[in-house]
Symmetry: C2
Subunit: 575 residues, 2 copies
Amino acid sequence: MRTSQYLLSTMKETPADAEVISHKLMLRAGMIRRLASGMYTYLPSGVRVLRKVEQIVREEMNKAGAIEVLMPLVQPAELWQESGRWEKMDAELLRFVDRHQRDFVLGPTHEEVITDLVRREITSYKQLPLNLYQIQTKFRDERRPRFGVMRAREFLMKDAYSFHLSQESLQQTYDAMYSAYCNIFNRLGLDYRPVLADTGAIGGSVSHEFHVLAASGEDAIAFSDTSDYAANIEMAEAKAPAGPRPAPTQQLTQVATPGAKTVAEVAALLQQPASQISKTLIVYAAKASDDAPQTLVALVLRGDHELNEIKAEKLPQVASPLVFASEEEIRAVMGAGPGSLGPVKCPLPLIVDRSAAHLADFSCGANQDGFHLTGVNWDRDVTDYQVADLRNVVEGDASPCGFGKLVIKRGIEVGHIFQLGDKYSQAMKAGVLNEEGKHQIMTMGCYGVGVSRIVAAAIEQNHDERGIIWPDAIAPFQVVLIPMNMHKSVRIAEATELLYQQLTAAGIEVLFDDRKERPGVMFADMELVGIPHHIVIGERNLDNRQVEYKNRRSGATELLAIDEVLAFVNQQLKR
Amino acid sequence: MRTSQYLLSTMKETPADAEVISHKLMLRAGMIRRLASGMYTYLPSGVRVLRKVEQIVREEMNKAGAIEVLMPLVQPAELWQESGRWEKMDAELLRFVDRHQRDFVLGPTHEEVITDLVRREITSYKQLPLNLYQIQTKFRDERRPRFGVMRAREFLMKDAYSFHLSQESLQQTYDAMYSAYCNIFNRLGLDYRPVLADTGAIGGSVSHEFHVLAASGEDAIAFSDTSDYAANIEMAEAKAPAGPRPAPTQQLTQVATPGAKTVAEVAALLQQPASQISKTLIVYAAKASDDAPQTLVALVLRGDHELNEIKAEKLPQVASPLVFASEEEIRAVMGAGPGSLGPVKCPLPLIVDRSAAHLADFSCGANQDGFHLTGVNWDRDVTDYQVADLRNVVEGDASPCGFGKLVIKRGIEVGHIFQLGDKYSQAMKAGVLNEEGKHQIMTMGCYGVGVSRIVAAAIEQNHDERGIIWPDAIAPFQVVLIPMNMHKSVRIAEATELLYQQLTAAGIEVLFDDRKERPGVMFADMELVGIPHHIVIGERNLDNRQVEYKNRRSGATELLAIDEVLAFVNQQLKR
């Protein structure tokens, strides 16, 4: 491709409305343009990257035995009513009527459509297992779309759905998808981690997320520093501290702490570390029945730890979703405000985090405004309590796998695999005749990859102050030829043309920057666009039949004999 | 691919709701399933064909210098309001609001979005010409979707838009697209014709449609039997009959024709051919201004010819769109009803079709109920009239190109190229600085291919009573291996497996029918699915180290040495 016949569309200015680096660079490098909030047109360089990601995903899905289908984006409401999600989903599910006033949605996902298809097509256990996927446009009417294509409303996704008659069969396909995803991200050339994940609203039991690691990632991931263990921080188990709890050495003492309400204020006043102070959070209890009165539960954590809301709401005693009690509700029961609460003589059921339960001689609120207690000890001062894992892990915690300590990094979720179970197949009565000739509901898995999101995540992970640094596999072009002042030198024009013909004929994707631009502009543009391999053709080097090679990532340059360029590039591209 | 690991989904029964053969066969061959009216899920065989068509289109567009982009399906209303189509388009344009009550549409086409993009990105004549395309989902809320994917609501289209500063540049890109389309349909292996077309509602001047020829086609196309001339019947010019008009030989005579109102009735009564009788149609005249009173115009054609409404409404004297006067309106002016009208002493302006104007001694209504005139002659009996091309051509007409006679065939429109002019660029103020440094509105072309429609059209053209007959280039699989009773014969299983490995390794797309089915079921399924090359592996032939080859299209069979299968298949596929 010659730049003069291409739509490069690079921008010097950093767009004001872009918050994250990938969004800025995708705009500046001429990959996308905003059409409306959360909707983007992909310019030529954007499409080239997107199609490469799409093709790698397709090839690996095919290799793993999944079969490609293509479902409509527009879906009839009836199926969503049948699954129950028509009621459950909020405005993220975009609903509209057609010219005949029939209800439809723009599909944010396709569980309903595929389950409907499979229940019609598949009648016998002999046709199972089956794993169907598509690479297709999705629409989610996000309340606040942001970060460019990272959290867009219209986006491209690979979604796969598998159908089984046994957990064993589901596990096999799940494992095959896990491997396929590893292959995908390896081929994309990205640093990623599969992590144990919460299954969330989509339902099901086992689930892994695939994260591209990047400092700007929205999610925190906990890794073992010595094993393969990795989990979303929402899921990572916080173990109890090693060894027995120390024996009490201090007397229970009430101290006045006027004005000290936060852990930091109390710690400063008492001259104790936050880790030696407990904090007490009051939340709604789970109800035995819908018409039972709402009661409360007290959660106790160490002052330096954070409540993990997902862990809390999974406890049978706690309402799900989690609701914090208001100050009024707290005062009515506890006789004190949120800054002065504690487990001693607490009238509510107590659930104590494992680490808090390991403290001795600790401090806490006295359940009396303006007072705290010091020298508190479990079992001596508080007898009726339960212990549970309530907190987010922190760096340095023992890994729950039993090996090493946890390190915390940030990641961008680009893939997610689920064992769905029978959530949809049960609701939609999707069954087949099993080996015994009996009707049996199928069990399902689902497997998503955010194709357009990968493009943004790859940039978050691979960039510098000059622009994008594409991995070879998904670069819009693999090589750029940058001739110096070609329009004044026939010799340079000819040498560049020859290289262009030679590399292109070898199947390499080459951008030939034939614009009448100053060298500085061309270098800056090509570094911004992120083409991994640069060949600079200049007068002086041509005297020695040489050109300069520059590696976008390392910045290293070297002189190449002009006859060796093809072989060198092939070697760089590992072809 | 092994059938046991594939979703073949063939059906024996012909679905009741499918009207055309391609729809029936796509359902029966397991290519599509209906999700809702005009919306289809593509099953694996459907996706395989669709992706092949898509890829051929993409490759030829790239070769022709077009650059791929990808625009959202969901589009903001503002752009449609700016172009004026928000008001002009009917319910086919599906409108809805998002969660913030902003107006959007599901894009039936992308002129507005691309024009908006280009006016922002392109500022100088140096960046032109530019031809951008996408292959993307479209949505048109058809009043009556039908014929499966032939006229669906959600469908896949390639749409390209080019931008220029001169008609010459537009013509160059238009010609390049014309050639690219010929290459596409040649590669697809389809019998097609580019035909001159009306530009219709989309606007512009020059336009060609690309039609796949099929007896079931919705459109009639007129061809010269000796030259390359081809035009949509709406567009084909009807020349005046050769030679001078015969001289009058009869007197003008009024005859009673009680009850005879249609041409056929009058012809029978007068014992004259319909070609010797004229018919007079009364339509609304064009108004000089909106508040002028509505006047009428009389159109005169030969009794055996059909009015071409598009030709009529293009005349400056005639209202566009064409409106036929009511019987009441006709009687008020003519003093007679529709069955008894004629040009003699007609109080309305007369426009006479070229062929009707060539008649001598013809008959027509007397403008008096129950009477006709015979022996009518132009200039003698009617002096004030205009001559124009008003009729549809018929088979046997002289070709307007001057060579040969017209033949009429039926076609399915699968591509359409337009010279749009400045319809959108003017409305949306899309201009650039020209060579003189002045702001100049761009001129545009647009170029569409119905990707999913091609799949249906290919079937309309290529099928027999047993099923689909795919051209090699777009077959879901190129070769099928059909082993006879493989599950009882290790020898057959092994021989088939070996062939499967060998052909697959050579890059041929092979379906290995490894189901436990009777040979008859396998043959019927594979003929229905339309795989072009069948290899049958049976005991008796294996004794001679042979297999049977069957060509799906010709039905011809021959025995092949098992070692020669690969070479033979390569030859068949012209690889």
